[in-house]
């Protein structure tokens, strides 16, 4: 319930039956939209996850927990671990690259702030396909990097860059980088500069100030950025599909294959429900931390 409130106050009104006001009525279309296109599919997914797969992928409506048992089968464990590894590596790299960048834009850029932010958001506006294609051109055997390295004589044989974990990570980092930088940037912007001055005033050099003041005070942004990067990364399948190789099969691919290839909707649903549950738990954790932060 508290989770729902967070998602949409109007929704809680719908459910909770509060007194109707004009402002709440204004939220009705958005709530209806959310209910139809977000809650209903998730509910459907939840229902299907307890059904059985019939011949040739038909859904047979007999209640079973088999799908969940199969979902937590140890043989799928490596896939989950692999996904978690890719997602956390992506998150870590995005944070390591994103924090300095957000810091730079927030503190050192004066005139071209908006332009830089705009450029930063480009991956959000670019079609995934274009991004993937671009990376294939860059990383391919006869791609940009290999041609360059061959021409300056650094290598004789083209390096194998594509269809490796490296390429998947590059794709993931590229795609989800804005999700990390934007919350970091906004929390750095909101940080009163007086705290930084106070630290410097009391003898804190740039590093001491960063570690003892700036970073701890922007932790809400760091948490939000990490969540916004990690969660979609956990479900991503496009990068693994097109930039990855045989060893980069992720949870997203597993789920996608249940729906598209194996036609095992119940199993795919149970995997999805579990993934959503884990993400919700993560979000809840993040919000708890944020609340703790807000009470300072």
């Amino acid at each position: 319930m508290s989770m729902l409130k967070k998602i949409d106050p109007a929704l809680s009104w719908l459910i909770g039956g509060r007194r109707q006001t004009a402002s709440q009525l204004l939220l009705l279309p958005a709530s209806a939209w959310l209910a139809c296109f977000m809650l209903a599919p998730i509910a459907l997914l939840f229902v299907v996850s307890f059904a059985q797969r019939g011949d040739y992928g038909a859904i047979s409506w007999t209640f079973t927990l088999k799908n969940y048992a199969r979902s937590i089968d140890p043989r799928y464990f490596p896939v989950l671990m692999r996904s978690a590894l890719y997602a956390s590596t992506t998150t870590a790299v995005c944070l390591a690259l994103g924090y300095p960048l957000a810091y730079f834009i927030s503190f050192y850029v004066d005139k071209h702030k908006n332009l830089l932010l705009l450029l930063l958001m480009l991956p959000l506006w670019t079609s995934c396909t274009v991004e993937i294609y671009a990376w294939i051109i860059i990383l391919g055997r006869e791609g940009l990097i290999n041609s360059l390295l061959t021409q300056i004589g650094l290598i004789d044989e083209p390096l194998r860059l594509l269809n490796r974990p490296f390429a998947v990570l590059i794709g993931l980092i590229h795609t989800y980088f804005p999700f990390m930088v934007l919350p970091l940037y906004s929390s750095l912007e909101k940080l009163p500069k007086a705290y930084i001055e106070a630290s410097k005033d009391l003898g804190g050099g740039p590093w001491a100030t960063l570690w003892r003041v700036t970073f701890p005070l922007t932790l809400p942004g760091v948490f939000a950025g990490c969540m916004l990067t990690f969660i979609p990364c956990m479900g991503d399948f496009l990068m693994a599909e097109f930039l990855g190789g045989p060893s980069t099969y992720l949870v997203g691919n597993l789920i996608q294959n249940q729906f598209l290839t194996a036609q095992d909707w119940p199993f795919g649903s149970s995997l999805s429900v579990l993934l959503i549950a884990v993400m919700m738990a993560g979000l809840y954790l993040q919000q708890t931390l944020e609340k703790k932060h807000a009470s300072w």
Binding site: A198, S199, D201, L202, G204, G205, A208, V213, P216, W296
Partner: protein
Amino acid sequence: MTGSYLLELKNIHKSFDSHRVLNDVSLQIREGEFLTLLGPSGCGKTTTLRIIGGFEQPDSGEVYLNGARVTHLPPYRRNVHTVFQHYALFPHYNVFENVAFSMRLKTLPPQTIEKEVKDALSLVALSGFEKRKVSQLSGGQQQRIALARSLVGKPSLLLLDEPLGALDLKLRESMQLELKKIQQKLKMTFVYVTHDQQEALTMSDRIVVFNHGRIEQCGPAREIYEKPASSFVADFLGNANILAATLLEILPGSRAEILLEGEIKLKVPCAEALPVAAGQRLCVAIRPEKIQLHSGPSQDASKVSLPCVLNDVVYLGSSARVLLSPFSGCAKTIQATVVKYGRSGADSAGGLNGTAPGGTIWAQLDGDDILLLPPESDS
């Protein structure tokens, strides 16, 4: 020369986006002094403080601290601490960690840190607050913690940027005295920024009055009040009435004769070196409390009486402010302070005698209370 001062500013210039904020500011501060930078907002006093603290770099000019040039040193390389206007206490640390911050950076032994924090908290009368969160403190308590945090590193100089601005009047007045007491007890040098003349007069050994990025006057509090060097200073400290006058003649015995408002001749005391020569225009200042009100012209030859229309009376509690328009045609309104306003039977001494707004009243001036000032510049 430079070595004899704790801090010295030499010919500081500073502009923001072609807007000149400081124009040739030079200043010396002695060890153990309580110096106040006073002026209206935008006069450059805070920028001066930030240049001393190292948060801004001057466009030209130098800053010397203990004889060493520190003009371009970052704040963390100067043994100068600041109490910020809104305290800037770290919200993610408790009181103890806030106070201990500068010592943690120096990685002092824990016992030392504990002792120093304890001493600092007892100095600001907040012993036992170590574990409190910053958000649990009142404004006054936050102010004290900010002070303790800045004092604990034993800086050679403490900068205070309108530290009492956010407090209510009563708390502010008690903190003024307390700050002064702490400063005297620790024999530390304080540079204090405020726009409140009362605060400046209460606490300071010396006051520097800023106006439009320049130092208008610098001197002991009493001297600034009693001998303002310009009409701006006279007005800013004590709301003096500024009137136009012409210097008629310089008399022996440090006195001069002036023509006030084009018709009243008056003998006034003057300094040896007058800013203008005989026959030239100048300004005079009269403090509101030095003007006496009577229902008729004065009989005393040494005093001057100006017939005025009583415009308004502003009740101030312990006193009242009377606004007058002289008959002489002077455009300016004159303000007079009446101390015993409203007390029955006492009005006859210096009061209004029941004169209502719109009625006529005589403002009586003593030539000895009139201050000669250079003519007002247009700036």
